[in-house]
Symmetry: D2
């Protein structure tokens, strides 16, 4: 005996290929479908609506498929009321918990639609009186009410306006063969728009920012107010500080372009120096650290969240060595972010993509196409990728955004 549900989706269905991906999902979950009705937008600008009956082998399969389809913006025609159950243990959701997307989500409780706070991927939905908010698995506590199944949950996919001057062009595949000057300008525009709207610009960076000689450009962007928050690991900060203290960075003498192979001796000594001061801020205030990206962030009172990894030396005293604590700190820093630029780091880019609402524009710049692809594969569907040289890209971005920026 099979079970069925009517679902519907609205948008540029013909145009965007979304319907094809929805039907793929249904097939991949071993279910079947009938298109009941399709209301095609005749003109190019019109929206279409499709109603589909999906049929699965049992209710568990059906519920899981319905949750999956919501990541595509497919909702039940008759969503009913949300159901929830109590978590029995700390850190464990009830069976059948609803697994979230990072899209705007509403939950129907007591006949009313409640907007979910802080949408984030792969979380549970906690019902707390008339509030509903996302919570990662590790933070759930026994006794909390957790939404189960797809009933009473609606997600909204962003309406893609495809404006001529917008980010539309970035929708096509990741590629290094794009007119890069246009891309730089569009990222600059995105940052300006965020600032004009009173929002913050979040940077996520890897040590390549320092290695490619882009630190002066990034420092100029900090000074000019285009870096409000930095998410990074121990490596970016250490190499930046090493460079400020000794003029080198893991293998590169930045002034001359000569390589200092490995050079770990500088690296480990820089870590020890900052540990002795107690924090990066203390090192700045004590006059020990007098230059570099971290120095610029401290002197401009900008926030940074450094989260450690298993390969770290040291680490710097500011680094969260517990990664779950680090994730919590990153989440706290996300409010008011209006634009996110990821540069030269796969690890922290994926980590940030995991917790960033889909409504925040996100651009990922890396010389390695795999980083950008990985990010999109993980579900950060809003991510736009630019495969280019990080050093030259940030140089151009500084030229674009900082009026008096002079290349050294």
């Amino acid at each position: 005996m099979t079970v069925s549900e009517n679902v519907e989706i609205t948008g540029h269905l013909m145009d965007s290929g979304i319907l094809s991906r929805v039907l793929d999902d249904i097939r991949e979950y071993g279910a079947d479908w009938v298109i009941d009705h399709i209301d095609v937008g005749h003109e190019a600008a019109d929206m279409s609506t499709a109603t589909i009956t999906v049929t699965a082998d049992d209710d568990e399969d059906l519920q899981r498929l319905l949750m999956r389809l919501q990541t595509r913006g497919v909702n039940m025609v008759d969503p009913g009321e949300a159901e929830y159950a109590e978590a029995e243990m700390d850190g464990v959701f009830p069976d059948g918990f609803y697994s979230t997307t990072n899209l705007p989500t509403r939950v129907r409780l007591g006949g009313r639609w409640i907007e979910v706070e802080n949408p984030e991927m792969d979380c549970g939905l906690i019902v707390d009186g008339t509030r509903v908010y996302t919570l990662p698995m590790a933070d759930v506590q026994a006794g909390m009410n957790v939404v189960c199944g797809a009933s009473g949950v609606k997600v909204t996919t962003p309406v893609d306006d495809r404006p001529e001057g917008g980010f539309g062009f970035m929708e096509s595949d990741v590629s290094s063969e794009k007119p890069q000057a246009v891309l730089v300008r569009q990222v600059a525009d995105g940052m300006r728009e965020a600032k004009t709207a009173g929002k913050k610009v979040l940077w996520v960076g890897g040590p390549g920012v320092v290695h490619t000689g882009a630190a002066p450009a990034m420092m100029a962007l900090v000074h000019a107010g285009f870096v409000d928050i930095l998410f990074a690991g121990n490596a970016l900060a250490t190499h930046d500080i090493e460079s400020a203290l000794y003029g080198t960075s893991l293998g590169v003498d930045l002034a001359m372009g000569r390589g200092v192979e490995h050079g770990h001796e500088h690296h480990i000594r820089a870590l020890n120096t900052i540990r002795k001061e107690g924090s990066i801020r203390a090192a700045v205030e004590n006059g020990v650290l007098t230059g570099g990206i971290m120095h610029a962030l401290v002197t401009h009172d900008k926030e940074f969240v450094l989260v450690g990894s298993v390969r770290d030396d040291g680490p710097l005293p500011d680094v969260y060595t517990d990664v779950i604590d680090g994730q919590r700190a990153m989440r706290r820093a996300l409010s008011d972010v209006g634009f996110c630029l990821m540069v030269a780091t796969m690890l922290h880019s994926v980590a940030t993509g995991n917790i960033l609402p889909a409504s925040i524009p996100l651009v990922c710049v890396d010389i390695n196409p795999a980083t950008v692809t990985k990010l999109a594969d993980r579900g950060s569907s809003q991510a736009r990728g630019i495969v280019t040289d990080v050093g030259l890209f940030l140089e151009q971005l500084a030229v674009e955004l900082v009026p008096d920026y002079r290349r050294v």
Copy 2:
């Protein structure tokens, strides 16, 4: 006024290019050199010895250069006695601390040479009565005696015998254009030799092991006794468990080869299931987890150390969320390791390379040449790289090592 020191190096100097790298180091540290004497090995098999006077601007520069040169196996002609100082704070070395290599090291104290326990990169040397051992910066405690400067320290570089049948061929550059069948056989021989010598085989793996369909091959190698310890992150274990529970793994239906895009819903549910059980072992013992690599490790009582990262969902209850704790657990597991195979992970490979003594043979397999290059750049000079498909490589390795192994 400048300061000088006489240093010497012995080995296949002409042959190995090592002298060139030593002189590069001296130049890069802004110092100068005179070759005082060189005793050339005339025949191909002979060793050469060179004595060099290095001159730096001041003693601090000289000491740091001398420490650097020791990573090349260059020691002072007259090393004198080691000097040490007390750590004044927890987690901070004294200024001028000796930064270690992962090579066999001896320290001269009271006229006697003492062998350093557990050589590891980027650590300090702690003097504790007649013992000397490495300690990472984070673990040093106020009051410990820490070796400072290069005096009284000697390192030994491995004598490279370049045997015909050995790992010599792997010394050339990382390349995907190598006769792969020969490489598989040599890795198999390395593992057999380690086991015959009563040593353990350490695996370091990324989720690509599961995605490439190599789990059955790796399970066969666990059964056959060629996997004693696994270092990995949350991802490998979760994808393996997801695959065992649902037959899928982040985007791949392994039986049919069809992709389940993202599929995070399976992923997050697998995490919840194991968290509910309390541990992977509990899940095996309770009959919840009945297949896969982690199941094989548990049922054969093999050790695994899972260390988290900032991008983790969940994580699994067995994962160290504090990366420094995770590093400590990895260090504890290293004793008796006689061979190390790294597969499809840059993060954990670099982390393991950081703590592994240079005396342990180390092979790194990845389809991405950058992973292998990065490992060598970080100072794991013994690392041999194989750029190939992980799935087919492990398949072939199982055929080579497991007599009755049948491809599924």
Copy 3:
């Protein structure tokens, strides 16, 4: 004043994303559209049909858009009769010539639909009495009748049956994270099916086949009858012959796995040796060449077409130094090909993709994802990509297809 045309498309429109790409094309050519009618397939297996009115600024734009849309399988509702014009010069088509796809194509002349012979991309259509055939630009002669505009031309896109056991799984993105054993088996099945149907198997190979040590596997496949034709350049043949004559191949001693850096001296001497004999066949017959892939092809009377490139040394006497002559030789060899495997070459893969009808199954194997992506981007939509190690892949393919194949 604008001009319009009614076009229609039939297929799994909802399912395949094709409609989205058609509308993208229209937008990109600066035209506009209205969906007049859409007959949705309700059940998963049903076909849909859409009728669309496209509007462009002038007739030239419209004609070019209509030709473009035919590459998607979109035909005019009322195609009318084909129009043609005489070529005025050798090697130049008339203005407005119809530029072909590699899909099955029919042309309406005198009220009858005529099937186009040898469909090939980027050619013109020559009308010769009641025959219509493709001809590349370089081969057109003054006075030939060349179809102009899209009127009277229909193309048929392959109906994708997506059978469970077929090539369906390969439709998803190029990725190295696929269960490789399944992929090997499916390629083997494709070759067996072609042979069973009395068709030929075409290989397109680069020198990586030799460098990765896969020559023995490929030789076994020649012996077993799974290599009917080889398209390659000077490099594969030269390295194979060098390996047979001297046991080396540009940098690799295959028996020992040791690298012979560059080693151009062997390379250039091997070329001279075969040039002296006059041809590869002569070298085999005179007992000069006694092993390797080229030797196997000659002794089994298999065809090979070697086409030169600007970087060639020598070249071998069998190499076409004129690339247009080489393309002609490749075209002549294509009849009766039923399966095509491309291995480790971007240049010859793209060249073959250009001339291969879309109806022939095509698999491209390379360790570099860019090769596979490039092939698909050039319009070889039927191409399936496998990112893996070429040496291990061919080894496994030989194990699969050659009953008594033993790894050396």
Copy 4:
């Protein structure tokens, strides 16, 4: 019975690792060695000289080893007189012919050292009265005198001065993690120096120059006199012309950054248009082609050599379809070249590297590290690689070299 020869080498032997590579060569050719004498440079700036006896199994092996060693700058202590033999057939060298390097070479005939004209890799040395010149295998004619064996031949390796401000920094490994701004400036300096010395600047380019939007930058550099010759294939020229005629280039609308997928229809039509005119110059003169890189070259009377490949459509009427003819045209264009920049092409970069004397500075820019590595592996030891974004690199180069250059 074995045969021996005394050889010597002078240079920064200790410093450069060259001795290690020489001994590797000897071992790889199955020969043995004794270092007879080594005169070490004591100070950092001194040169060293080593005398080595090499022993091989027979004279043929020895001669081939001696020829190999000359590529390292190792010459016989007593070179004697050159020996030569007549070519018996067109296009075939005599057995035992001397295979050339691209280093400055002298040949001893009649007691006098004669400088070899136009040193080029993998050629034979033709003795014509008192002239000696290189000739590729394909161009030798029966009756010509061809040097055989290594006797009487001396090569000179460039003395590497490692000047502080020179190209020294580029000697380290290919890497994308270099301060790119410094690299741009050094390439600019190299071009300026060549022009100041009255030499020509040779560009070798792939279609990526157009796809990355770098055409305006390159056009500005043509106008400013920094592009004297262009070596390319059909693709760069066709995409440039397509872009000039239709504002698109295989998949990229350059003004808007939007992708036109494939877009072969523009591509093939652009080819037909130029073929109709008869040549690119004719198309410029007839007012058909009014913009782009090729237009700039024609209007500034700069030379270009376009050589075809097997994947070409069309091709353009200016393209050499015979690759050996194309190589000859490239050789003719090389005189007076003083600097070579290779951008975004593996095929033409390797082809140019094959024929370029080692004395000409050579920089290779590509986003793909493999291109740069391949070039060095093929023997272009003077090649310096920059892994970066081609579009941004040329943009920066234009800013550096063209005073009034404005980013569009």
